[in-house]
């Protein structure tokens, strides 16, 4: 789960990481008031779940509270990569002597949290990583013990020469690790970590991605979710416990299992169609999930035909059939549905579907070819 910069700042500040005072605003007048309280020049930053905010015009340096008002009103409501800006962060403009990068990710290859630090920080860190990876120092942490003081110091020495700054950075590294663990993060990043002309080391930006698997037992972290930053159909799917991602095609897909769902999308493409979504109804056989899935897919006006691809293992295909029948009774589905099901209780499932005049296929290729043809005919 992505959270906003202002939220990540609060989580890292709670660990003691030094940063400039700032606040979040939802209206231009709030932004003006914050700028007045802070005094002096401030930076106004769009809060959206997207990179490249600065390049999109969502980060502005202003000198006065009235300028803050003007620019905040331009940024609020602005679209950045398809997302509407609902909030801005207002922070004092810092004088900067150097910009570094400090990141911590859960690394799948080493199966451990891995620090990545670079003295070449700032907006172009992706380019640094791609072109001069030797400028990024990596260090894997054994999560049983956490980051050792000597490891933090080693990383800090890769950033600074001045020992006071090295010690300050080492402390921030330990605090970042603590924040990573405390908040169930899969990524925590400070970019840039800056030094000021008077020698202080400060975090100017913060990013945290929370491991979705932590949310179940951490309602405090779930509260950080911003529903407005999500595609509405995806938010609805999440509330129905469906794994759903909206795409641009016209073939709606309802599948059990993530791997089979991806393979189904690929097969739609193979036969010349375009999938409208990824949707995994999961292993349970709850007919309610099928109803929710159909409701979400049919709200997409691009969808011209819908494919069910169910391989019954734990999932009982008769439950899915019941869900399809119940859904079509609850609301009108005006596009054709192609159903492929095989496995657990398929005879019963076929009987249920035939009872309402629907057919079921048993072969995946055959079903996908048919749904692609139907979608094309209707398009």
């Amino acid at each position: 789960m992505n959270i906003h910069e202002y939220q990540a700042r609060a989580l890292l500040k709670a660990q003691g990481i030094p940063m400039l005072d700032g606040d979040v605003a939802s209206t231009p007048t709030e932004a003006e008031a914050i700028a007045r309280r802070l005094g002096g020049p401030v930076v106004i930053k769009a809060q959206v779940h997207a990179g490249g905010r600065g390049k999109a015009g969502g980060v502005r340096l202003v000198r006065t509270p009235s300028e803050a008002l003007d620019h905040a009103s331009e940024i609020l409501g602005m679209q950045i990569k398809g997302l509407t800006v609902q909030k801005v962060l207002v922070v004092p403009a810092a004088e900067i002597s150097s910009e570094s990068y400090l990141g911590l990710i859960m690394d799948r290859e080493s199966q451990r949290p891995v620090f990545m630090v670079s003295a070449a920080g700032g907006v172009d860190i992706e380019e640094v990583a791609a072109k001069t990876p030797e400028k990024i120092v990596r260090l894997a942490v054994d999560p049983t013990y956490g980051v050792f003081p000597h490891q933090a110091l080693t990383l800090a020495f890769a950033l600074y020469r001045d020992f006071t700054q090295v010690k300050a950075a080492a402390k921030i590294i330990e605090q970042l690790y603590a924040g990573f663990v405390a908040n169930g993060a899969s990524l925590a990043e400070i970019n840039p970590l800056v030094t000021t002309p008077d020698g202080r080391v400060l975090a100017l930006d913060a990013k945290i991605v929370i491991d979705d698997n932590e949310l179940f037992w951490r309602p405090d972290l779930s509260l950080l979710r911003d529903d407005t930053a999500e595609e509405p159909s995806e938010a609805a799917a999440r509330r129905a416990n469906l794994s759903f991602i909206k795409l641009d095609g016209n073939v709606g897909c309802v599948v059990n299992g993530a791997g089979l769902a991806m393979a189904t999308m690929d097969l739609v493409k193979y036969y010349g169609g375009e999938p409208a979504n990824f949707l995994d109804i999961g292993g349970s056989s709850n007919p309610e999930k099928v109803i929710a899935a159909l409701r979400i897919i049919t709200t997409d006006p691009n969808v011209k035909a819908i494919l069910f691809n169910i391989f019954g293992g734990i999932t009982r295909t008769d439950d899915v059939a019941n869900g399809i029948v119940a859904a079509t009774r609850q609301f009108k589905v005006s596009v054709p549905i192609v159903i492929r099901l095989t496995g657990t209780n398929e005879t019963e499932a076929i009987r249920i579907l035939e009872g309402v005049g629907m057919r079921a296929l048993s072969d995946m290729d055959q079903a996908v070819e048919q749904v692609v043809k139907l979608a094309r005919g209707a398009a």
Binding site: M106, L260, F278
Partner: protein, 290 residues
């Protein structure tokens, strides 16, 4: 013969009295798996289905029944603790079915199981099945499998069933099918399974089913090129997946330009692995290579 599970497997079910655990314990018993014990803390002394003794701890179960493998069906927040317990009791093969375990928990589990020489399969996986040995550990439906000589390893569940279904319908039986799981941090990877299949005299050909995200398939392809002499067919799911989005499985995500289907298929091609463009192609590909 088969890999990881065979006729000598004496299985313990952690979470045997729960909804998932009891359902699948029955399925495993029906298939012929030697389920010798169950563990649910607080329910020690009970008997499951009139024949499987239930214990309070894994150590008790091992001492009383000689269990040498464990399958875990406990909820996500208790699953890491269940793996620690099984490893601590000296069980050499632990299969964790549970989906939704926080990745930090797994990051702590891995060094511990390695230090105890435990083979951990999963988490978030369907487990494994060796049809010829009537050994099923997990949730792979037994009725779609057929004893035979194809070894299969996969990151997915139902997609595995789809491929197995094609194999079985065309009389290509399986030595062992292993689902290694869809999470970013897992105990057993493709290479572990490829090595086991290469060394297994009962396996003649190998099918590997990967998906987008990470570098496991690329590393596996390099291993195939260097060490595997048996024919290998490969599939990658997620060719149409958008970047930066988690496709259901926590591990199925393309980050930046890494972990794409093209990258993985390229690695397969370079290693001489036969590429399945659709699941149904598995049969002809293997026939052509055997």
């Amino acid at each position: 013969m088969s890999v990881f599970a065979d006729a000598g497997t004496r299985l313990l079910v952690q979470g045997i009295t729960g909804r998932e655990g009891s359902f699948h314990a029955r399925q495993m018993l029906e298939y012929g798996t030697r389920v010798v014990a169950g563990v649910t803390p607080g329910k020690g002394g009970q008997t499951f289905e009139g024949k499987v003794p239930v214990f309070n701890t894994v150590a008790d179960a091992v001492r009383e029944t000689g269990a040498n493998a464990s399958v875990i069906y406990v909820p996500p927040m208790a699953a890491a603790a269940a793996i620690f317990e099984a490893a601590d009791a000296g069980i050499p093969l632990v299969v964790c079915i549970t989906e939704g375990i926080p990745v930090m928990h797994m990051s702590r589990v891995i060094p511990f199981v390695r230090s105890r020489n435990v083979r951990l399969i999963g988490p978030n996986c369907p487990g494994l099945i060796s049809p010829g040995a009537q050994a099923k550990i997990g949730i792979i439906p037994g009725n779609i499998c057929l004893p035979g000589r194809v070894g299969l390893v996969s990151r997915s569940g139902t997609l595995t069933y789809e491929v197995v279904h094609h194999l079985t319908r065309n009389a290509s039986g399986q030595s062992t099918c292993v689902g290694i799981g869809g999470d970013p941090i897992i105990g057993t990877n493709f290479i572990d399974c490829l090595r086991a299949f290469q060394d297994d005299p009962a396996t003649d050909a190998i099918v590997m089913i990967g998906e987008i995200g990470g570098t496991d398939e690329q590393n596996a392809a390099a291993f195939v090129k260097a060490h595997v002499t048996k024919p290998v067919a490969g599939f990658i799911a997620g060719q149409t997946a958008p970047k930066g989005r988690r496709m259901g499985h926590a591990g199925a995500i393309i980050s930046g330009s890494s972990g794409t289907a093209e990258e993985k298929l390229g690695a397969f091609e370079a290693a001489g692995i036969g590429i399945m463009r659709r699941p149904a192609e598995v049969v002809d590909l293997l026939r052509g290579r055997l």
